[in-house]
């Protein structure tokens, strides 16, 4: 019964192949587009980074310059600042696309929304998460982070910041249609960031004591893969609601 219908569809499909993209191609296209846009608005890359640096320099000023105290609280400060910097940068993930209508076109396109959303989130991580990781060791020096902890800091940031982008994307997708979404976004997202914060800082603390921290890393990796597979679905559903 279904066979003739399929054979009827086949020729139309072959004529459309030039217009149709493979998943990988679609992913790369969206990624390239987002990176190009980001490169043309360099402020968007630099400002969250500056925020990260300034917040971290505020803490020694507020708490006092003793190296002992600073090295004790350094993991927490760096991670909280990273959470806030990510939160600050999330807004542009879908906002401009929503305003100029390209988001709706993406939802209408024949490609699975999962792929497109994943590409956008990956671009967001490349623009905000990666610079954060690169600059973090420098700030760790300022905060007298324990020598043993540098690898742990970098590894937790490497596994943890993608989780921040993925979970944050859910919040942005839910609030993209709302005019004053900024404050609301932090209310929605920050509670969800708590597990990453807890395990990342405890990994760094454990590393400072010279103990193995692979357990914490494994849990952050589990959070990463869990959110990698589930979050894009939630983002897709949320975008459909937001664009109505």
């Amino acid at each position: 019964m279904t066979l003739p219908a399929q054979s009827e569809q086949l020729p139309t499909q072959t004529t459309q192949t030039s217009a149709q993209l493979s998943y990988r191609h679609a992913f790369m296209l969206v990624l390239k587009r987002d990176l190009t846009i980001a490169m043309r608005h360099k402020d968007d890359i630099i400002n969250p980074l500056l925020f990260f640096v300034i917040v971290i320099t505020l803490f020694p000023l507020g708490i006092g310059p003793e190296a002992k105290t600073l090295s004790r609280i350094a993991p927490g400060i760096i991670w909280v600042a990273a959470l806030l910097a990510t939160l600050l940068s999330l807004d542009r993930l879908f906002k401009s696309d929503h305003l100029d209508g390209s988001l709706e076109q993406m939802l209408l396109s024949p490609h699975p929304i999962f792929i497109l959303v994943l590409a956008k989130i990956f671009a967001h991580w490349l623009i905000t998460g990666l610079p954060l990781i690169l600059i973090a060791p420098l700030l760790a020096v300022l905060l007298h982070l324990d020598k043993n902890s540098y690898t742990a800091l970098l590894l937790t940031l490497l596994l943890g910041t993608p989780v921040l982008s993925l979970l944050g994307a859910i919040g942005v997708a839910l609030t993209v249609g709302i005019k004053k979404g900024g404050v609301l976004l932090s209310l929605l997202i920050l509670p969800l960031y708590i597990p990453v914060l807890i395990f990342a800082t405890s990994a760094i603390d454990t590393a400072a004591l010279g103990l193995p921290y692979s357990g914490q890393l494994a849990i952050i990796a589990a959070l990463f893969f869990g959110s990698l597979t589930l979050a894009p679905f939630a983002v897709g559903a949320a975008l459909k609601v937001s664009t109505n």
Binding site: I170, L174, T175, G177, I178, K180, G181, L184, L187, L188, L190, P191, L192, I194, P195, I198, F199, S202, D205, I219, L223, L230, A234, A237, A238, V241, S242, N244
Partner: protein, 248 residues
Amino acid sequence: MWKFLHPYANPETTYHFTNKLLPWLIALAALFLSIGLVWALLFAPADYQQGDSFRIFYVHVPAASLSMGIYVSMAIAALSSLVWQLKLADASAAAMAPVGAAFTAIALITGAAWGKPMWGTWWIWDARLTSELILLFLYLGVIALHNAFEDKNLAGKAAGILTLVGVINIPIIKYSVDWWNTLHQGSTVSKIGKPSMSLDMLWPFIFSFLGFSFLVGVIICLRFRNEILARNSIRPWVRELVEKSVVK
């Protein structure tokens, strides 16, 4: 098997069903709450260690467990709204969220009031307290998201997605907080647990727990009716209801 539920997809039928349900819920809540609370506060024996201050237990524990129970039922409503596109499920989730937030707040406040005489401090960063606080934040997030949308249908869907994301996260948050607590400080005073209770303390607890559960039922039922009316205000049957009540 689920066919008996089908008529309740119609708002009017459900509205009249809540009409019938409400008196029963009110009666049961009044009965159980009055028996349970009077028994618990006046007649149950005082704890040999904590004295009379343990009696706040009879409000604190029902509020805490109901705060979690309401979130789970909210998530079930959100799921059925997303999967089967039931608009009434949205309305029920919207009705439940503030009640859940209120009970979470009650659990936190009574917990603080209990903690002051027992632990000597209003607040400690105990795993249970922390995860209850985070639950309150999740509730407030859902409510804030719901209020941010003009269109109530969209608001329900968006809040539903957030509720489901939250319900996946609650166990993760719970375990991470447990873990964090054991890492950062040894259990100093948090070893309160649930004392194995004697029966004359347990019975008033069961009564007051049922009483609070029925009270939640009453409040949610009232809010649910209001939601139905607000969302269907253009429908003729709502207008008829209004006209009838005005003529009276």
